[in-house]
């Protein structure tokens, strides 16, 4: 608490020392993200401050990074535009990750590591089997996704699991084409670390 105000003094000073005067950001947000993260990685506090050093109203013309949007729908959409896969799929009664799922999660991990976003990993099952066992199976699937993302360097503290079992199907026909869509780990951005 007490030290929080100091950041507003220390950070601009650091910024000035490191980069000279703060510059206008480059035009495209995608590049913006890359530039920021690659160059700023060493001192974490600066990264935290870069977006809006002083309380600037949003209508200010400074182009903002969509990943910084307070609207999490915008954030989810932007992440997907950059190659984030919201869903990985499982075989029947399985909670182990396929090669395809691992490849998607590797890309997701790379993207997540450039942000401080919080992710809820939902575990889902198809309608076959009992609701009770499927709830446990969904939990195991969500945890398989979480464990793999963590092994790739995503901070476990940013990942939350939530099993819905067979209670929230995306598809309701009783056939394999539909069941396969329901056996999934679904990743949703639900917040941001270090946000007041």
């Amino acid at each position: 608490m007490n030290r929080k105000w100091m950041i507003w003094i220390v950070a601009p000073v650091l910024l000035t020392v490191l980069y000279g005067c703060p510059k206008k950001k480059p035009a495209t947000p995608a590049q913006d993200l890359d530039v920021n993260t690659t160059t700023v990685t060493p001192p974490p506090p600066t990264q935290e401050v870069t977006p809006e050093p002083v309380a600037t109203p949003p209508q200010d013309t400074v182009e903002s990074n969509p990943l910084d949007s307070p609207d999490l729908q915008v954030v989810n959409a932007e992440l997907q535009r950059r190659g984030f896969s919201p869903d990985v799929y499982f075989d029947y009664d399985e909670s182990s990750l396929s090669d395809d799922a691992r490849a998607k999660l590797a890309r997701n991990a790379d993207l997540l590591k450039t942000t401080q976003l919080l992710v809820t990993i939902e575990g889902h099952a198809d309608e076959r089997g009992t609701n009770e066992y499927n709830l446990a199976l969904g939990d195991k699937r969500a945890n398989a996704v979480r464990d793999y993302l963590t092994s790739l360097g995503v901070d476990a503290g940013r990942l939350r699991t939530l099993s819905y079992g067979e209670e929230r199907p995306v598809c309701t026909e009783s056939e394999e084409s539909c069941w396969s869509q329901n056996r999934r780990g679904h990743m949703v951005i639900t917040g941001r670390a270090n946000m007041g």
Partner: protein, 454 residues
């Protein structure tokens, strides 16, 4: 429950004949305790179904209406008569001859002579009912006669407000059952279940015969896995209304809901210990679901399984001491047993490739569960000692989630044979299937224990 019983103002009055009425049918064997064929490896399971009990031939002529019964009172009288007939029919203890069977009899109104007439029909016991209105109440008098001796063997009188007509009927039916069989009836028991008829899965309760369906939760989320407390006054259940699934307690009389366990990412499938003081349930820990026990108000959390595979859907044996649960530790879900401290874990089911949802019978010797056989889910029953197993349902329709009646003679379960999930009751031998629900999808039934002794 209790307050409603008081509300009833049901006055039971033994008319008698100045004598202590003999239980003349005491020689009727009370439902035999299940005698299993003990040979190991023999999968034939003799279930304590109706086939072992010789049904009592019971005659029930149309109840008499004394005096003017109009409007609501007439409807209440009709309903009460129908409830008595239906309860006795549902019990499976009787072969009932209704009013039609007696149409040809020359009845005089003189009881001694009329009993002669009834004797010719082969009925062993005769049930006569009288109904009349008294101010805004209905009065019902039911009498049982031993046809052979012509003696009155049971007489009861009830007086209550019209809305409790069904309850009076249930109460009398159970008195008849207790008197003639020595067994407590189930007519006043209830079934908790989930229904999505309001658009979301909520917890509901209904009478054992499917009547009086009422919603218990209004979380507008997903609520499931209701489990009766042994005293029948509250339900533990799982709900997502607060985000991650937690376990909550609903008190039926007050309508109050409170959390039992809602920390962590997943808590599901609660059931009570036989004394009602503890709850066993499944909880996600270290990336997997395991079985835990907690106090009825939460706290004192103790872990019972450490398998690394899914362990879920536990059920405490009614006689205490053991917990049945589902585990995926052998690859597929199967039913396991353990002592209630978590020791002595052992596999019960060996047949079928997907077994879940263990439900004990009241005497603790049988477990019913959902078993996948040949790609289809069916209701199976296994003897916990001999492991003899019998499949009670057949055909398509995904039959799931069994729960025993408090007398152990019936099973409520879910079937999809109509296209939606509905609740059905069958006798323990798979016969006499009756549909209880038809609105929306209805699932996860849990049959209450017997209501507290009145």
């Amino acid at each position: 429950m209790r307050s409603r019983a008081i509300h009833l103002a049901v006055a039971a009055l033994l008319l008698g004949m100045g004598l202590t009425l003999p239980r003349i049918f005491a020689q009727e064997p009370p439902a035999q305790p299940p005698q299993e064929e003990q040979q190991p490896g023999n999968v034939t399971l003799v279930l304590p179904g109706n086939q072992q009990f010789k049904p009592i031939k019971l005659g029930i002529p149309a109840f008499r209406r004394l005096g003017a019964l109009a409007g609501d009172a007439a409807r209440a009288a009709d309903e009460m008569e129908q409830v008595v007939r239906q309860d006795l029919q549902n019990s499976g203890y009787f072969t009932i001859s209704g009013p039609e069977a007696f149409q040809g009899l020359q009845l005089t109104g003189d009881l001694a002579r009329d009993l002669e007439a009834y004797r010719t029909t082969g009925v062993e016991t005769l049930l006569l009912g009288d109904l009349r209105a008294e101010a805004d109440k209905i009065v019902f008098e039911g009498r049982l006669f031993d046809v052979a001796s012509g003696q009155a063997i049971l007489a009861k009188r009830y007086r209550g407000a019209l809305p409790v007509a069904r309850r009076i009927g249930h109460t009398f039916a159970d008195e008849v059952i207790l008197f003639l069989t020595g067994q407590r009836g189930i007519s006043l028991s209830s079934i908790a279940f989930t229904s999505d008829r309001t658009g979301q899965k909520e917890i509901w309760v209904m009478d054992y015969d499917g009547q009086n369906q009422r919603r218990i939760t209004g979380h507008r989320s997903t609520s499931m896995s209701p489990a009766w407390s042994p005293d029948g006054e509250s339900l533990a259940y799982t709900s997502f209304f607060n985000g991650p699934p937690g376990i909550y307690l609903a008190e039926l009389a007050s309508g109050r809901k409170r959390p039992i366990v809602n920390s962590g990412s997943l808590n599901t499938t609660p059931t009570f210990s036989p004394d009602g003081q503890r709850v066993v349930f499944a909880r996600s820990v270290d990336g997997n679901v395991e079985i835990f026990v907690t106090g009825r108000s939460g706290g004192d959390l103790r872990r019972l399984t450490h398998s690394g595979a899914i362990d879920t859907n536990p059920s405490w044996s009614p006689t205490g001491g053991q917990i049945a649960f589902t585990s995926g530790r052998a690859g597929n879900p199967h039913i396991y047993l353990m002592d209630e401290e978590g020791s002595n874990q052992r596999r019960l089911t060996t047949e079928g490739d997907y077994n879940d949802g263990a439900a004990w019978n009241p005497t603790g010797d049988l477990i019913a569960y959902t078993s996948r056989r040949g790609g289809r889910f069916q209701i199976a029953v296994t003897n916990v000692v001999t492991q003899a197993t019998q499949i009670l349902t057949s055909g398509p329709g995904e039959n799931e989630s069994p729960s025993f009646s408090p007398d152990g003679r019936h099973i409520v379960y879910v079937s999809r044979k109509s296209g939606t999930k509905q609740l059905y009751v069958m006798d323990l031998d798979g016969s006499h299937v009756r549909q209880l629900t038809n609105e929306g999808n209805n699932d996860m039934p849990d049959w209450s224990r017997l209501p507290a002794q009145r």
